[in-house]
């Protein structure tokens, strides 16, 4: 089973077409293995990306270098999934 330990979800806000193109180009860099949760569309609309742990620092550095603002929505994706699984297990054992 695939795990997501240390994967982060970043919310990116681009201010202009140039920044939009930069973030869109991350889709083509397959080695980064970035999963776009909300696709790039137009400036000021949020873009959410799931970044594997090993690329978190480099992606953040790239955004910062280019003046693209972002925030971290999910610090550790696996921690949320563990919570989700715990809830499902609890629910199975709950008396109806």
């Amino acid at each position: 089973q695939k795990t997501f330990i240390g994967d982060q979800v970043l919310r990116i806000t681009v201010n202009n077409e140039e920044q939009l193109a930069l973030v869109s180009s991350l889709q083509e860099q397959e080695h980064l293995n970035i999963d776009f949760w909300l696709e790039p569309s137009k400036p000021l609309l949020p873009i959410d990306i799931q970044v594997p742990r090993e690329h978190v620092q480099s992606v953040k550095a790239l955004l910062e270098f280019n003046g693209v603002s972002y925030s971290t929505l999910i610090e550790d994706l696996q921690a949320l999934m563990d919570e989700e699984e715990k809830e499902m297990v609890l629910s199975h054992h709950k008396e109806r």
Binding site: W37, E39, S41, E84, E87, M88, R96
Partner: protein, 307 residues
């Protein structure tokens, strides 16, 4: 059984399929289960039909969870189905609707993908099909419909999460819907329920051209999201797909609209990004409650405005 089922929890595909049978059995003949196809991995694709009789009545189609990881959509559908049965004969909107129209709910639109999110990869979006010429699996079913197929807003890269597939309707899950809706021939509304980002959208996604019913669809959207917000204060944006989020080709509601189904909508349920696809289970009921109210505004309008 469907009365003691925990609607406030996420469930596996097997649990949902078992629920369907008990739900149908306890619905006093109001609901039946139809198999409209099989998936790439040979799982049955089911639709729940709500009908009080009549032959080829005008009908409403709602499918949930075409993108496998959007768990809140099928979770909402279960609650919605149960709510309809419990309100029939009590609530005038539900009763009038089901006395004049048939309603088809596709509870899990992408069963292979949904199962895969429970067993292998929680973040999986696509189907699980294999196509010649690539080692990457799966096609984005919501880019695989015959609506400017392969155009902007979809990817030709088989490894991408928005891969449009080798040809129109290449995905058995998509073909099943297309064949069923086409053969039925009397659908008046087609609604595709997704998550997240709190949006209510209508055609088009593949072109900036306004649909001919733009004004009516805008007004109805506003009415629906206003009603939805009255339940828990959840705010939605609304409008055509292209101007509300992004350009996308090959999507289900664009196809439906081009088939002549005027009331074609796409919901993006809670939330706006704090949890994304990992919306906590304690928000399932609240999401379902508000979605029910938003949906009923649309369904009421469809019933009252035959065409």
């Amino acid at each position: 059984n469907s009365q003691t089922f925990n609607y406030a929890s996420y469930h596996t595909l097997d649990e949902i399929y078992t629920w369907m049978d008990s739900f149908v059995a306890s619905s006093s003949g109001l609901v039946s289960k139809l198999q409209i196809g099989t998936t790439f991995e040979n799982r049955p694709i089911y639709v729940l039909r709500f009908s009080t009789g009549g032959v080829n009545r005008p009908a409403i189609w709602i499918n949930f969870g075409i993108h496998a990881r959007e768990w809140i959509s099928p979770a909402t559908s279960l609650w919605f189905a149960n709510k309809l049965v419990s309100e029939y004969g009590k609530d005038s909107s539900v009763s009038s609707l089901l006395n004049t129209m048939d309603l088809y709910l596709e509870i899990v639109t992408n069963p292979d993908g949904y199962s895969f999110t429970h067993t292998n990869n929680r973040m999986w979006r696509k189907t699980r099909s294999n196509h010649a010429g690539t080692s990457c699996k799966g096609v984005d079913p919501n880019r695989n419909f015959d609506a400017n197929f392969g155009g902007p807003g979809a990817s030709g890269n088989a490894c991408s999460s928005t891969y449009y597939g080798p040809y129109v309707n290449s995905e058995k899950e998509v073909k099943a819907i297309v064949d069923f809706v086409t053969n039925h021939g009397n659908f008046k509304s087609f609604i595709d329920v997704h998550s997240y980002s709190q949006l209510l959208m209508f055609p088009y996604g593949y072109t900036s051209t306004k649909p001919k019913d733009y004004n009516e669809l805008m007004e109805l959207s506003k009415k629906s999201i206003t009603a939805l917000a009255s339940v828990h204060g959840t705010k939605y944006r609304y409008g055509p797909i292209l101007t509300t989020i992004y350009q996308s080709s090959g999507s289900s509601i664009d196809w439906a609209y081009d088939q002549g189904i005027k009331y074609a909508f796409c919901f993006e349920l809670r939330d706006t990004g704090r949890y994304g696809f990992i919306l906590p289970a304690n928000q399932i009921i609240a999401t379902a409650e508000e979605t029910y109210v938003g949906l009923m505004e649309i369904l009421d309008h469809v019933r009252l405005n035959p065409y």
